[in-house]
Subunit: 368 residues, 2 copies
Amino acid sequence: MTGPRYTPLVDGLPATVPFVGPEVQERAQGHPFRARIGANENVFGPSPKAIEAMRTADADIWMYADPTNFDLRNALATHNNIPTENIVVGEGIDGLLGYLVRMIVGARDGVVTSHGAYPTFNFHVAGFGGVLHTVPYNGDHEDPDALCAKAHKVDAKLVYISNPDNPMGTWHEGPVIAAMLDKLPEGCLLVLDEAYIEFAKPSAVAQIDVDDPRVIRMRTFSKAYGMAGARCGYAIGAAELITAFNKIRNHFGMNRSAQYAALAALHDQDWLDATVAKVHVARTKINEIAKANGLITLPSATNFVAMECGGDGDFARKVLTTLIADGIFVRMPFVAPQDRCIRVGCGTDADIDAFGQALPRALAKARG
Amino acid sequence: MTGPRYTPLVDGLPATVPFVGPEVQERAQGHPFRARIGANENVFGPSPKAIEAMRTADADIWMYADPTNFDLRNALATHNNIPTENIVVGEGIDGLLGYLVRMIVGARDGVVTSHGAYPTFNFHVAGFGGVLHTVPYNGDHEDPDALCAKAHKVDAKLVYISNPDNPMGTWHEGPVIAAMLDKLPEGCLLVLDEAYIEFAKPSAVAQIDVDDPRVIRMRTFSKAYGMAGARCGYAIGAAELITAFNKIRNHFGMNRSAQYAALAALHDQDWLDATVAKVHVARTKINEIAKANGLITLPSATNFVAMECGGDGDFARKVLTTLIADGIFVRMPFVAPQDRCIRVGCGTDADIDAFGQALPRALAKARG
């Protein structure tokens, strides 16, 4: 009896995980985290109207969701002032990135990203046989010119950039992003991950013609809208590209209650504004904690703050390990020199207080 | 400005949809269906405990779901009396089929299924460049011997069978399915879709060693558990195969509330038993309606009934069209001779009454 014959590509892949979930750590430790501020989740949660919509829809969970996402796409079109045909809804940005990479990246195709940028995108590229080329961050910012130059060099089919950036929280002004399009090689698609865009100033939003075939923008209800567990994201792009998703996407892949919740969340922009204000306050508190400990933070346009620990990556990893053991779930950048920082999420007052108490202990332990 | 360069495979795919959702038809008609009994959804819904679990979890939707599905996999292991390492949880059977096909089917690889069987499986096979070979149904049953013979002929990497069958509702006894394993060529994996297995008699459940590397079984919370809109399914297979899903699956793809709901649903087997009893009653009612109209139904081990309309496929399509226009959402098999039937779901009493009233009108119109 022999097992199945995997494709050569899949046979050669490692069984990796882009991120280890906090639940895994909690089980290993035998106790839950006191503060869950490591996955860029939005502790302030979605609009109560979204929760109410979800709970109402739960009673009808026996029905599949509308596979065309008709109502949600129309609402997103109105909200973004673009045609519906330029929007595809999917199972979070992770799901949409998977579909996109599958559509474009085949064996040995070149893809460019920043060294240390979003691992799940890299996971998809490897998973479809693409070759990942990276350029370093420049002063803790992703480097548009270097990304474009590398794209020319390797004839990239995709270039990934997130604006604002994860894991550093930094951002480029919209015109800098928009200018990338003319610097890319022909036939190269810019994957503009705007997961955190609602936290940024309006000037950080790139103004790009919705039918420009050189870019696809990814948005989500996971971050500012506070619905990471719902799995609902969307992409904006040229109609032809958007339609192509229908060739391969899991048409019945959306959770029905999540569809309704996203619709309700979109219609409560007051809640979104209040969330952004709360995040701003939380960032300020995190900055104050850093200052009180003699540490420096990076400016952030997201719901997290990259905090320098005052040493190199090994030092920051020690700080992180102690924080984790102390019940504070945080993460940190994977590569140097960004890994001199830990990434602290904008939690509740209680979360941040717990972090503020744990940090000096962790620093002391790492130092001594 | 040129657009992205799709892979040759995706470039050549049509933008198809395996199924058109009832919402699309409702919008086209300008009114909702009176009876939604066409998508094999379970109108009796999930356990109230599952709905309660979902509503409770909704408040925490700001958190990603546990990417390892730890609690749910353990509960499924206990429920099925197998090790946890033999279970993978995913975004419905549709999602899991997509992952499975991706792992095994490459360009021009052979895959075998029955002509007229599950279109979404075929969608995935085409989507990864496989070549689909089909064998006809035999007396409205899928034909295990013909499937195995064809698998030898084309050196298939996958063979698909659903037991009980969709769209006909027929089934094979467990030993017939189990016997297929010894008839398959080496290195061929049997994809045993058991979406409807909870509706079948215990004798229809194949007894197969959980570590047998020649088969993967697909189960779901969409049908008997009444949670189609939640998108939660699972697969049982050899540990090596199950682990391989981690190479490519969307680790953070599960809806968090759906995880909790599935757990609660699994723990309410009384509700499941009651649902199966209700479905049995509904099947009887549908059979009586057929009889009253001089029509024949096929025996069913599912929550739907294939009903012969008394003519050929064109006749049945006319009946279906009139039913749809009359507010009754039903579907029918795609290919002859199975398309002499329409597929009627086990609805509520009101659903079935509405169908019972509409059917004679639809038959009269089709005849005249």
